[in-house]
Amino acid sequence: MDETAQRLLGSADRLSRDPETEIDWDAPVGDGYGLSPEWSTLYGTSYWDELSVDQRRELTRHESASVATTGIWFEMILQQLILRDIYDKPPRTAEFQWALTEIADECRHSIMFARATAKLVEPAYRPRLLARELGRMFKTVATGESAYAAILVAEEVLDVMQRDWMRDRRVAPLVRTVNHIHVVEESRHMVFAREETRERLASAGRGRRWVSALVIAIAADMIVSSMVSPQVYANVGLDVDRAVREARRNEHHRSLLRTSCANLMDFLGSVGLLTPAAARVYRRTGLL
């Protein structure tokens, strides 16, 4: 573990990014999409076909702001999870120092996402109450592999979509840069979270593994279902009921989600966290 942490510290030394100075926060956002249109929850539905180009662009900007807000919510949870985990560890170890580096990264990311969403759209988004309250409980009690694998879930799902958006010239330059900053720093976080998860599971018995697998799956469900708030559709002036209904049935969007979770599912399978009960949850959420 310490070897990995040492290497990650070295890597952070080679390239850490400062959104404060790297992004020109005074520049106008322009009129790009908020995310790749193909990643819109309505892309491929009949509702999408009825929207004007302006409405589609506006929809993606709101969706992007909503996803970023979910990102902030989860980053706050994971900062607390990590802080609790290392609370009484020896500060001189690389593992301890890397953990604090990661918290610092996440702290900067949350500020970056907050500022970017404010530039992108007028209304502010928040995860729904149930997610917020479950998150409150999770950050207070989760430990070991449950904590680290849940961190991984949030990071992996976001990672694949953000890679698409950052490479897409139709997407607003601000969003592209924000996403690349996140992708670079998250790649180290994901390596760390996998390593921690593997290590914590090494001594876990069947019962604990079963419970952890289920907790992680439920956390994943909560994260994914919180990404795009129904309020998005209302704010763009769409029929919320119809939009929610069509988005839920959007097989194209589900296939993008499944693809972005492919590495995650493979990892969970390889460490024995894809138990039949957990697999049922992932299947219902549309990740498997």
Binding site: T4, S11, L15, D164, R167, R188, M190, V191, L274
Partner: protein
């Protein structure tokens, strides 16, 4: 420090997709991808995050300080002639590509659980919500990865774990030891993906070839494929291996391995005994064309030269005309004695005789025709357009039977993606069984 990719690379490009700095090339779509060469990490832009190593299914990506020096220099050399790609300039990245998925097939049959079939299954499970039935005539997944990869490359076989996980997916039905005909007769599939590979060895077409051993037989025997037997006796002190691909190099490596090296591999005691008793001291690796045309990868050649201690000789521009090493047929004897007077071994068209006790041919593979599907016998493949079988709606091909026997394990990922993309956008209605 940075990372480096070794010659064990499977080229399935999972690492390319997770590298946050666009440091790994050639990526799918770039020149050089899919030609059998491994992938490389640009040390000038690698930030050492380790994401590639974390995802690598065959453990080929490693920190530079834990890699072989040759691997580190090979990675650096690949980029020597080009400017570093600035990941910060997001327009230097390939733009994302999307295929609109929606609807699509409900039930798909995938025939063959080798790499092409496994990647096709994975892709179907990701891209569609279809139920995928996977069959293989063997009892285990892996195909050539399990039974065709040399046993001294155990890392490459790690990908089997990934394949086995795919069979446990809730929408996958794994039917080992089953043939496609048994299931197709009952019908009910919206599409069939034939990923049966190309397992028939190409033939040299020379006199006496019937008493030579094909690479397929040799490697299957070494790997303990059920029912595989060595069709000839292994006789030293010299063996000729015809072929200049990585499979030929695999065979040469195994033939000159001493007992100690064999013990370090996952091979049966019987295989070790036969190899040990063969008295093989030397291998001549014969290329019908020059080294510039050789299909082996640089890293495979380096590995062979490093381990063989001079016991493997490379000979190029050699055209064999007859094999008289084991064969006692009059025609072969006449051919041999007519040219050089006497001796047993491999006769070349210039009249030279390479005396040898055993001949192994490793000049590539070709596919067998599939019942009910058209077949291009010149190429040994099923005629197809981006994976859709010509003239047979609902039938698709992936892997070697689709594109010919070239490209390593991971190249099948891009190949299967193309086929599944075609399938999802064109599959409609149930298919009829092969006629």
């Amino acid at each position: 420090m940075t990372f480096a990719i070794s010659g064990e690379c499977c080229s399935d490009a999972s690492c390319v997709a997770v590298c946050p700095m666009n440091s790994i090339h050639p990526s799918p779509g770039e020149a050089g991808f899919g030609t059998g060469v491994s992938l490389f990490i640009d040390p000038r832009t690698c930030i050492d995050c380790g994401a590639c190593a974390d995802i690598c299914p065959v453990d080929a990506a490693k920190p530079a300080d834990r890699s072989a020096a040759e691997d580190v220099s090979r990675n650096a050399a690949y980029f020597a002639g080009s400017d570093p790609l600035a990941a910060m300039d997001l327009d230097t990245w390939e733009p994302p590509e999307y295929q609109v998925w929606g609807g699509g097939p409900r039930r798909v049959l995938v025939v063959g659980a080798g790499p092409a079939g496994m990647y096709a299954t994975r892709e179907l499970l990701l891209r569609t919500d279809a139920e995928v039935t996977l069959v293989d005539r063997l009892a285990e997944v892996g195909g050539l990865v399990r039974f065709g990869v040399a046993p001294d490359h155990p890392q490459t076989k790690q990908i089997i774990d990934t394949f086995e996980r795919i069979t446990r997916h809730p929408r996958a039905r794994w039917r080992p030891g089953t043939t496609a005909e048994e299931l197709l007769g009952r019908g009910g599939f919206d599409a069939v993906v034939h990923a049966v590979g190309a397992r028939r060895s190409r033939r040299l077409g020379i006199v006496g070839e019937d008493s030579a051993c094909t690479a397929e037989d040799f490697v299957a025997w070494c790997n303990g494929r059920p029912g595989a037997v060595l069709p000839v006796e292994l006789n030293g002190p010299r063996v000729v291996v015809v072929g200049n691909g990585n499979v030929a190099l695999d065979v040469a490596r195994l033939l000159v391995s001493d007992d100690e090296r064999l013990r370090s591999m996952d091979v049966a005691a019987g295989v070790r005994r036969v190899l040990g008793a063969s008295g093989i001291r030397e291998v001549v690796l014969l290329g019908r064309r020059g080294p510039e045309d050789a299909a082996y990868t640089e890293s495979a050649l380096q590995e062979l030269q490093a381990m063989s201690g001079g016991r493997v000789t490379l000979k190029y521009h050699a055209t064999p005309v007859a094999w008289t090493g084991a064969d006692r047929t009059p025609s072969a004897d006449r051919a041999a004695s007519g040219a050089s007077g006497a001796g047993r071994g491999l006769l070349l068209d210039g009249g030279e005789l390479i005396s040898a006790g055993t001949l192994v041919t490793a000049i590539g593979f070709e596919g067998d025709p599939i019942d009910g599907l058209p077949f291009d016998s010149a190429r040994g493949t099923v005629p197809n357009v981006r994976g859709a079988v010509v003239g047979r709606p609902g039938h698709y091909v992936a892997g070697w039977i689709k594109r010919g026997a070239r490209g390593g394990i991971g190249v099948n990922k891009a190949c299967a993606q193309e086929t599944v993309q075609t399938l999802v956008s064109s599959s409609r209605g149930a298919v009829s069984p092969g006629s």
